[in-house]
Symmetry: C2
Subunit: 464 residues, 2 copies
């Protein structure tokens, strides 16, 4: 039997990146890199095929946002000691003092050398489909499609990417106030928790598992803990060292699964590279999966007529904002730009449950601007600041911006500010309503976590 | 706390249909009915709100296709003794000799009074969203969207709906030969099973659970059993009476879950109305879920970068056909018309994994023809014969027709023939490739069931 069509299963990608300029931990955006890019396709018999590309490119992402950067003295292993779905990025400064930049999932490998990767992607697909035509039996793996990263072209530097919101004028759109909506939700949660304490002398409990000491994760956790405290949710933080084994993490999750005081479990992502995220997430009890990332909850979200125990917080907050603003969803054209597992994908599923006509635009979409400009409702989950500018938007559209990107801005306090995926000042002249970043989806997402935790506790305690 | 926004949870719909002409079991299409349609929204406190519609309409569906028709002497209960998600249709001929037409899920309630239902749908949504604006806490149930049936307008009788394929001329498209592709897949499966028998003296086993004596289900099962026999898969048929309780069905599934000779379990749908389909499907071991309907497998299909243990057979066959015909999917615009849990939805997820830009069109879509006409790849899963005619299709598009509709045709042997959702003779003048019905997706879907069962056995036996 011809097995060449199994190639994709073992496809591993390796980029060797030689940097030419000094980099610091807190910002590699805009730095020039000399890139040696090599793609390996490893066959089951161990042989490999490869293609090479050598180019000088500017890196369009920030270092600490969604990327796991660690020091490493390892030589790049060739072929990659690969977990099949894992994609490794390595970059080296000098032979001594190697650093490794790696991301275990293709999901957020965005903002990176789009044209480049697309050509690689095509090469993989081509290699796969041409070899399969002669085979008689297909594998699920081929049918599932090549697992390629979503990478986008950055808006060109001449665009309005880094203009400040404050210069916006001619404003016509409603700016949706996520903070006040979040406050209303939090107050509702708090009053329900009061009622719960008074009636059954119990309160919801939320556990957060943090593996390793990532600064951004710690910040996220602090925000969540504070929000819990304010509404009366008891919190449990399980901090594990960066070096913890997968089994150690599983043991902690297992203990939390069995702890009746814990109604919700969050495993803070990303996990260190040696820990299999999928295995850990699958191990969280679906009844305590307040993040809604368990495949059982995701499957029930996808399947019309079923009810997941939890809806992921960001998509839930998106719909909540639309409903609270009186936006009619049914029958409307909705475009979700981006398809991440935890934001874009579940948001598109949820919009479809509300009977919108949903199109999902991603980095392989040939004319994203044109498709997006037909939408009544635009959801942005790209991870690229200001990708979606005025020309992408239909006059009168409603825009929910789920992006949270750090951009450097010498004009602000810390030199860095948060911006969305939508060019706010252009959009506001075109659309009828838009969520700002910050102050839009973000606070409502946190409120939804509280609400999910409360729901879980109500279910567990049989409290109506 | 204002609880009015919980309304949707308990929404039940009831149509009272008084027929005016004689009907027979094997065909109610085209019969005139006087319809008293009443929609009930039941609140948690037991109170209800209702709206009434009275109209005379022609029923555009065939009786035995996807509908469960049983005699019943019950009076229509008001308010409905409702499982919240259940939608009951009842029609009565005369006070004596009542019959009940019911369908437990909204999924395939298509082909029925679209405009009518849409207005009802809007009423529900309106009632829900207007009442929720004053509330402070949202429930998952509201956020999941109203669970409305997908109903489509029938193509008008002046359309080419029932023209015979044989009159097609000016044919320019490739007609994709599903039969020969299926044969190739079956041969591959058969040779693998031979190898398995020779090497480890084991063969795959498939169990089919049939509850009740529906004639169409029995036909489907016969086809599956014959296909299994031909490739060397051992089959086990578990027939239960129509009156079996849910627990009896669960016990049978449990026994099959624990039987090491059984590698795949199919629960033939639809189940009798008193048996909860969701509960039964969820109980099938995900490792033996060769239909791919378990939410765990569906969730892993939805989540990019993950691998479900099984892909549902019809979507898998759709992609298989595209790949085998050398159709490039990546970057193409794909429109899936229809969003059923077992065909349309997983097909759209699978196309997206192949990096198509996917839009899902359903009965709430305002301009389905226009959106579909922009697609490079059109997948039809509507259940209405010839809904998609030439004007819906872009020249050069590739069409996969997943519909299998019975239409009356005095010109053929049994007076009934099978046709797809696409008007074949119009489409063939426009598109570059199309699957016929019958002989397109159908045989490949059966082949995929065999392939899934083989894969499951290989996994269970550790056979590579």
């Amino acid at each position: 039997m011809d097995r060449r069509h199994y190639l994709i299963k073992d496809a591993s990608l390796e980029l060797l990146v030689r940097r030419k300029t000094k980099i610091s931990d807190d910002g590699i955006r805009g730095k020039k890199f000399e890139i040696f890019c090599e793609i390996f396709l490893r066959k089951r018999n161990g042989a490999k095929e490869s293609a090479e590309i050598h180019r000088e490119l500017e890196v369009p992402f920030s270092s600490r946002k969604g990327w796991n950067i660690r020091k490493s003295n390892e030589e790049p292993a060739t072929p990659i000691p690969s977990y099949p779905k894992r994609v490794l990025f390595r970059w080296s400064s000098e032979p001594a003092g190697r650093r490794r930049l790696s991301y275990p999932r293709a999901r957020t490998m965005r903002g990176l050398w789009a044209a480049h990767w697309r050509s690689l992607g095509r090469k993989i697909l081509h290699s796969s489909s041409s070899s399969s035509s002669s085979s008689t039996l297909s594998s699920n793996l081929k049918l599932l499609g090549p697992n390629l990263p979503d990478v986008w072209m950055m808006p060109s530097s001449s665009s309005s990417a880094f203009r400040s919101q404050s210069s916006a004028n001619g404003q016509t759109a409603n700016v949706i106030n996520g903070k006040s909506i979040a406050r209303a939700i939090r107050e509702g949660v708090a009053s329900e928790i009061c009622r719960m304490k008074e009636t059954i002398v119990k309160s919801p409990g939320l556990a957060i598992v943090l593996v390793g000491g990532r600064r951004d994760s710690q910040t996220f956790i602090r925000v969540k803990l504070k929000a819990c405290e304010e509404v009366g949710i008891t919190t449990y933080v399980e901090e594990l060292s960066e070096e913890s084994t997968e089994d150690e993490v599983l043991r902690v999750v297992s203990r939390l699964n069995n702890n009746p005081s814990v109604n919700g479990i969050i495993v803070q992502l990303p996990l260190p590279q040696h820990v299999d995220e999928e295995r850990i997430i699958n191990f969280v009890s679906p009844e305590k999966d307040v993040d809604g990332f368990h495949p059982l909850n995701m499957g029930n979200l996808a399947m019309k007529g079923r009810e997941p125990l939890f809806i992921p917080c960001a998509p839930k907050s998106c719909i909540e904002l639309l409903l609270r603003c009186g936006v009619e969803i049914m029958g409307k054209r909705a475009v979700v730009v981006g398809r991440s597992k935890i934001v874009g994908l579940p948001t598109s599923l949820l919009l479809q449950r509300h009977h919108a006509t949903v199109s999902t635009v991603h980095s392989f979409t040939k004319n994203p601007e044109q498709i997006t400009s037909e939408a009544d409702i635009v959801i942005a989950d790209v991870g690229i600041p200001n990708l979606i500018c005025g020309s992408w938007l239909k006059p009168g559209a409603v825009v929910v911006d789920m992006g949270t990107n750090q951009v450097q801005d010498p004009g602000v306090d810390q030199g860095v500010r948060i911006t969305g995926d939508v060019c706010f000042e252009e959009a506001i002249k075109v659309v009828s309503a838009i969520t700002p970043v910050p102050g839009g989806v973000g606070p409502v997402t946190i409120a939804m976590l509280l609400s999910n935790t409360l729901d879980s506790a109500k279910r567990a305690f049989g409290f109506i």
